[in-house]
């Protein structure tokens, strides 16, 4: 069965690009527009990997990460932070909150797939 990825980004173009790339590689993709939306969708769907932007309205990626890690279904699921902020501060925060890894924007579809495949491929 195809693996499902929850892709969270407030930018529609990035979301579409991610979704298109991952679907092309045979993944199921659920899109969410911000942390709150993602949390709601995570509660409904079963997801194999979460890929989230950090800076988003309503709920940011770090808060989402923190809340997801408290859900029993999301304790061990890989969560990748997708962000333009390559700063160490953000990385340290992500790490402390239980992120599996990060991917710096801008990235190209090839690199995205490479990372995703490495984690759940």
């Amino acid at each position: 069965m195809a693996k499902t990825i929850l892709a969270v980004d407030d930018s529609a173009s990035i979301r579409q690009m991610v979704s298109f790339t991952l679907k092309g590689a045979g993944y199921e993709v659920i899109e969410a527009v911000d942390g709150q939306d993602a949390l709601d969708k995570a509660n409904i769907h079963k997801v194999n990997l979460v890929l989230t932007d950090i800076n988003m309205p309503r709920m940011d990626g770090l808060k989402l990460l923190e809340l997801l890690r408290k859900l029993s279904d999301y304790k061990t699921i890989p969560i990748l932070m997708l962000t333009t902020e390559s700063g160490d501060e953000i990385k340290a925060k992500s790490r402390a909150a239980g992120a599996t890894g990060w991917l710096v924007k801008p990235f190209d579809p090839k690199r995205l797939l490479e990372v995703i495949n490495k984690v759940i491929g």
Partner: protein, 727 residues
């Protein structure tokens, strides 16, 4: 890869335009004295999102500009800097530059790199807030990574900012580590990070036996250097040794290292994937070493952090449980936002509207045919036809509503226009908008924007007086321009009003005589005001570069008329001017009354009709040489005989045998003389101009239920023509 990305360009362009518009709106409502953090965050996010997208899709010029924007905004929202009015100006300018860059990428026009550089420097100056000397800017090269590092330097690390200060005492460290398994980009990133601290010399590049030796001259302490490195390099394989402390100036870094890295970057794509996976981090992606839920080894620092985190999570647990319980509910709410709308190209919508138009015609034809069957015998056919008619109408309405957009799409651009212009003219103006949610056909929205901009600029330039003059006249120093949109009957009215000087009747008449227009003192105010729409008419004493050349108002009128609208002016000298534009609700469909003249059928737009009546012969009078008039409740109205205008043969030539349809347009009334009324229809407008040519007195055509073509009358033009005959 870029070929793959191109398919997302369009959505990125649209998204960025929207973000820019949002950003501008936020900026304009931002109160400099007490900025709303939410607004600052929203502006920051907009810049951030554009930057992210631009970076992904390879629009580096936009990335750079948005990056500078983001840097300054980040400081503002973190409270590191105070918001100043010049910053808002710079933000707005930056927004314009990004818009231009966006347009250039879309293939519309050219972006000027010089203005982009200028605004970047301006933003940089504002965000550095006098702490940065030109020399320091030199340290930053033009590559994307160094832009990022510059940002970090500004954001977080004051000590590192000082480190670049040329007069500070500095340390020299020799850093050695094994870079086994480290990718070229990883080292590049590391070098970039180290360069933020000071001046870096790479003594041995990685190819030479996997040992990397660096020399770093910096004012930072060893810990800072250690921290920078520890994130990337395995601490066990790292040595940092200080060789001396001196207070000499730091040489400008050689470009060689940058060049070497640049060429190395090219081999990045061929990187062996398995090699990367061995190391802890790589610059553009990476995984944290320990399993997320079960950290094994932690330093004191991390333990503290984790304890704190646990405390926080305990506090949040109840809240979290509550939120997961309500999640099914909130999901409904959240999907009602962005997720529930889709983007469709306007061609598809237009095609749909066209098809529905055809369907309406077919339905009308069927209805006409069906009406010939006996309703008793064919009861089912008739009830089916009725249902079809209802459904068609509903379908038509809902399809038309797809094209409808709130007028706020147009109104939202004026705060900026007014702000810029007011400061240019040193006037104080407040812009009020009322009825922004009034919906209008998308086609009209696009076409109304330019004329409306012109009217707003005119109000500001000619209407609103200088503050001193206003105070002298007993008015508040700040003028008000009000934009108002509302429905009235079958049309939308958009008003631009100002509490400025008002129109000067005497001056307009004088000017009109100068221009050789036919005017007389007996003209009504309404007629006098409309003179300002004549070509080449301007009463402004001094020509400014804003308006006053007299080009424009006639163009405004023409533009409005070309979309089936009318323009009216009300003004009180010294008090106010109100210009109202009346537009049809939509361009494609019209409610009309069908009338018969001879064997022809015409459609009269319903919103011009006030009443229809059969006159007494005694009410109809002939004025010598000027045609006939009819008295309706004490008022004499010119009679427009359709069969005479269109040269048709009609059996009904005596006014009392036919029917008079009273039309009202632009404040004038006229009686349209027709043979008979047939019925009320909703008709699909087909352009006569694109299918045939423009005909005086006709605004379009439609296809009736029986397949015949009926002409739609241009009621406003007919009424005006009749007025001129009378005058």
């Amino acid at each position: 890869m870029s070929a793959d990305l191109e398919q997302f360009y369009e959505i990125f362009f649209e998204e960025s335009s929207e973000l820019l518009a949002d950003m501008e709106a936020c900026l304009l409502r931002l109160d400099v004295n007490s900025p709303d953090l939410e607004d600052l965050n929203a502006i920051f996010r907009a810049a951030h999102s554009i930057k992210g997208g631009a970076g992904t899709f390879g629009f580096t010029d936009m990335t750079e500009t948005t990056h500078m924007l983001e840097t300054l905004l980040d400081k503002l929202r973190k409270g590191e800097l105070e918001v100043r009015i010049e910053m808002i100006d710079a933000f707005l300018k930056a927004g314009d530059v990004i818009k231009e860059q966006l347009a250039a990428h879309r293939g519309e026009g050219q972006a000027d790199p010089a203005t982009a550089t200028a605004i970047c420097e301006e933003l940089k100056r504002l965000s550095d807030d006098t702490q940065v000397t030109p020399k320091e800017i030199k340290v930053v090269s033009h590559t994307e990574t160094s832009v990022v590092s510059q940002k970090k330097m500004n954001d977080t690390d004051h000590t590192s900012l000082e480190s670049v200060d040329l007069l500070k005492p500095s340390h020299t460290y020799i850093i050695e580590f094994s870079d086994y398994g480290m990718s070229d980009t990883a080292s590049q990133n590391l070098f970039a990070n180290l360069k933020q601290l000071g001046v870096l010399e790479v003594n041995a590049l990685k190819n030479e036996k996997e040992l990397c030796s660096l020399r770093l001259i910096t004012s930072n302490c060893e810990e800072d250097v250690w921290e920078t490195l520890a994130f990337v390099v395995d601490p066990a394989k790292l040595t940092i040794e200080e060789i001396s402390s001196k207070s000499t100036s730091i040489p400008i870094p050689e470009d060689k290292t940058v060049d070497a890295i640049d060429t190395d970057e090219k081999s990045l794509c061929d990187q062996d994937v398995t090699k990367i996976s061995k190391i802890v981090t790589t610059p553009d992606y990476g995984f944290f070493p320990e399993a997320p839920a079960a950290p094994k080894e932690m330093g004191d620092h991390e333990i503290n952090e984790n304890l704190q985190l646990q405390k926080i999570s305990n506090n949040n647990r109840e809240e979290q449980i509550a939120s997961s319980k309500s999640s099914s509910k909130t999901n409904v709410a959240s999907t009602s936002g962005e997720a529930s709308s889709i983007r469709v190209s306007i061609e598809k919508v237009d095609q749909m509207i066209n098809l529905v138009g055809e369907l309406v015609i077919t339905q009308a034809m069927l209805a006409q045919t069906a009406s010939q069957f006996d309703p008793v015998v064919f009861e089912k056919l008739h009830s089916g036809m009725n249902q079809l008619e209802r459904n068609t109408r509903d379908l038509q309405e809902s399809v038309m509503s797809i094209r409808m957009m709130p007028i706020s799409f147009v109104f939202s651009r004026y705060p900026r226009v007014v702000r810029d212009l007011a400061s240019k003219l040193s006037k104080r103006v407040e812009l009020k908008t009322v009825g922004e949610n009034t919906e209008l056909d998308k086609g009209l929205i696009e076409k109304i924007a330019d004329p409306l901009t012109h009217l707003v600029r005119n109000s500001l330039d000619h209407g609103i007086e200088m503050p001193e003059k206003r105070i002298a006249a007993g008015k508040p120093a700040q003028g008000t321009i009000t934009l108002r949109a509302f429905h009235q009957g079958g049309s939308i009215v958009i008003e631009v009003s100002d509490d400025g000087a008002g129109l000067n009747r005497g001056k307009i008449l004088e000017k009109a005589r100068e221009r050789g227009l036919s005017v007389h003192d007996g003209m009504t105010d309404q007629e006098v005001w409309l003179l300002i729409f004549e070509a080449g008419f301007s009463t402004a004493e001094a020509i400014t570069d804003v308006s006053g050349r007299g080009v424009g108002m006639d163009v405004v009128k023409r533009n409005i008329q070309s979309i089936g609208g009318r323009i009216d002016i009300e003004s009180k000298f010294g008090v106010e001017t109100r210009i109202s534009i009346r537009l049809p609700l939509t361009l494609a469909i019209l409610d009309g009354l069908s009338v018969a003249v001879g064997d022809q059928m015409f459609i009269v737009p319903l919103n011009y009709i006030t009443e229809s009546l059969q006159p007494n012969i005694s009410d109809v009078k002939t004025v010598s040489g000027r045609g006939r008039v009819v008295q309706v409740r004490g008022e004499y109205l010119p009679v427009i005989a359709l069969h005479e205008i269109f040269n048709l043969r009609s059996n009904v030539t005596a006014v009392n045998e036919g029917i008079l349809v009273i039309l009202e347009a632009e404040g004038h009334k006229a009686a349209l003389f027709v043979d008979d009324l047939i019925g009320q229809h909703q008709v699909v407008i087909k352009s006569l101009e694109s299918n045939y040519r423009r005909v005086q007195g006709v605004s379009g055509a439609t296809i009736m239920g029986d397949g015949k073509v009926a002409l739609i009358l241009d009621a406003a033009a007919l009424v005006l023509a009749s007025q001129q005959e009378i005058v």
